[in-house]
Chain length 199, copies 4
Amino acid sequence: MRRPQGPISPTRLESFSDSVIAVIITITALEIRPPQGDNLTSLDSGLPLLLAYVMGFVFIGIYWNNHHHLLRTAKRINGSVMWANLHLLFWLSLIPAATVWAGNFPTDKLPAIAFGVVGIMAGIAYYILGQTLIHADKGNKLDMLLGRDTKGIVSQVLYAIGIGAVFISPLLAYGIYILVSVMWLVPDPRLARGEEEPT
Amino acid sequence: MRRPQGPISPTRLESFSDSVIAVIITITALEIRPPQGDNLTSLDSGLPLLLAYVMGFVFIGIYWNNHHHLLRTAKRINGSVMWANLHLLFWLSLIPAATVWAGNFPTDKLPAIAFGVVGIMAGIAYYILGQTLIHADKGNKLDMLLGRDTKGIVSQVLYAIGIGAVFISPLLAYGIYILVSVMWLVPDPRLARGEEEPT
Amino acid sequence: MRRPQGPISPTRLESFSDSVIAVIITITALEIRPPQGDNLTSLDSGLPLLLAYVMGFVFIGIYWNNHHHLLRTAKRINGSVMWANLHLLFWLSLIPAATVWAGNFPTDKLPAIAFGVVGIMAGIAYYILGQTLIHADKGNKLDMLLGRDTKGIVSQVLYAIGIGAVFISPLLAYGIYILVSVMWLVPDPRLARGEEEPT
Amino acid sequence: MRRPQGPISPTRLESFSDSVIAVIITITALEIRPPQGDNLTSLDSGLPLLLAYVMGFVFIGIYWNNHHHLLRTAKRINGSVMWANLHLLFWLSLIPAATVWAGNFPTDKLPAIAFGVVGIMAGIAYYILGQTLIHADKGNKLDMLLGRDTKGIVSQVLYAIGIGAVFISPLLAYGIYILVSVMWLVPDPRLARGEEEPT
């Protein structure tokens, strides 16, 4: 039988995740809309929202990149991986709302805390996804690679510091969140070698 | 001729459904947006909407999972399968609206009834899709698998009870709907074996 | 060289079109949202919008189905096909706006005319796409199949009658538009044989 | 090992970009919605927004086409290509917001400037993407093809002139932007030969 029962294929999980992430990464953009044409005041200029959008876009872009590297080494997945993946997508799907909230109230505390919490929860969800992948596929090379995820731990610590920093200044918190993103933009030598990729 | 006339390929049906479901599962998230930054009151906190979003997200996630298991055993499909699939997607596409409605008016009766009705109709549509798949592809192993769909029947009964429970309390109804989802989150030994999946 | 210059592959055109259609078919659903919970009046019940949504959903579903049958016989495409396809997607992308407009003002003339015009323009765009496909790929079996597109011509005539009927009653016009959809829901023996589909 | 570590595959980058572009190209359409049914005045007719939507749709369509031609010659990509691609998608994702802004305030200066700036930045992002692709894959035929990108340079100059023209008349600026699009709609003999494309 050509299509046996069994878990979702990694390929389809990847392609579904891509579609979800594609919606998440773009849906916010439509909100960046000043209510007026000319004669903008600084309050309705849309600039804070534009900056928040950049922050959210880079955040999702990094997860898309990491998600791909995580899944592409997977050869076997099971139901737990499927739900761990949906769990990660759930937290990522809150980024548009957090972004719009942060962009509309850039100096308020709650939106800044919300963004940090989503950052931490997405990090935890990503870790869980990695663990379920390793569990589903013993002997996966991933095991070795994820052994010492220093960058992931540092990110979580920085998000926690950022949430604390909200009580000094929400803008300081956003600065720390952006620092996390910059850290990830630097290529990771562990997973991204420049080898040729067939297909 | 490499691409003969004939019905839609299962692969393309699957991939189109995935794209539709990806939009459905994420589009609601942008609505979770309190109108203010700090100084939220309980009414405009967005928390009921966030909880409704979780409920809708899990609902769609379960259908995505089940949909995949249903279609992957299919080798032949025809026009009836195509429309039965669109019929299912139609009911799923009402979940975002039902979610936002429920989240904005969590103690009102009509939104709670609407969510239950969509749950029942999606269940019926899923059943019809299964039947058209069996009809399109005699001898499909699916036939055997779907023979006694206890879980599906129990879900329908629980949704009906939930709709009745609205008249006691809408929150009780949501509790019953969530119970249905929890029941599906438990892995189904019939369809999801941990076998290796090539591709 | 494995990936030579040349036109867009039919597969990628198909998959891009699928993604666009997936967004179009679902995006409207979020709009079906009564402003209140209980105590709805007939005006803000959302029911006309729900019915309009069904009409738009079936309209797009039919085009997705036909689009697939048209493209799957294609082996060669060129830049003209690419733009003829985008032209069709453009008209389809106006369906959500036309649907919401019609649903909010079901007894007004302009929305009913708009829906009919989009129906006619989409039909013309589909015809042009068929012609560019035949031109791009001489000897395509499609040529034979499209030779007598009675159904397509009847649809165009009915949409024109529908636009005229708006001046008697917009609801009569919608009735005629729905008749066109019903006509297409009947399986077409020319293109949809129940043959096995490898892949 | 079947799925080695390495960069994102060109196929997946392409398919993710397609999904993002599919959302971008359609999401604006829902905004084209006059607040009333009959009795429209010229101000709330939605016509300027419809025209702006056509302009944005063609803009994105051209990028989708060019993006495909650029990526399909790529056999090797790396992390820089991935981020250069996301950078391009970022600018494209601002088109819906710029379109809605321009359509709502067609005679205001700021929206017209914004559209021009997005046009220039997307052009720069496309150029950077081309350069990173060449760098990632020495000996790529693309190198030769991109050698003299006259059309790209002319576009950038025209967008700059358009931004200047805003101070004469925003409508003149839009005229110049549309001229750029028309220029790209003419088939490019360098990249789009009518050769057969297997799959």
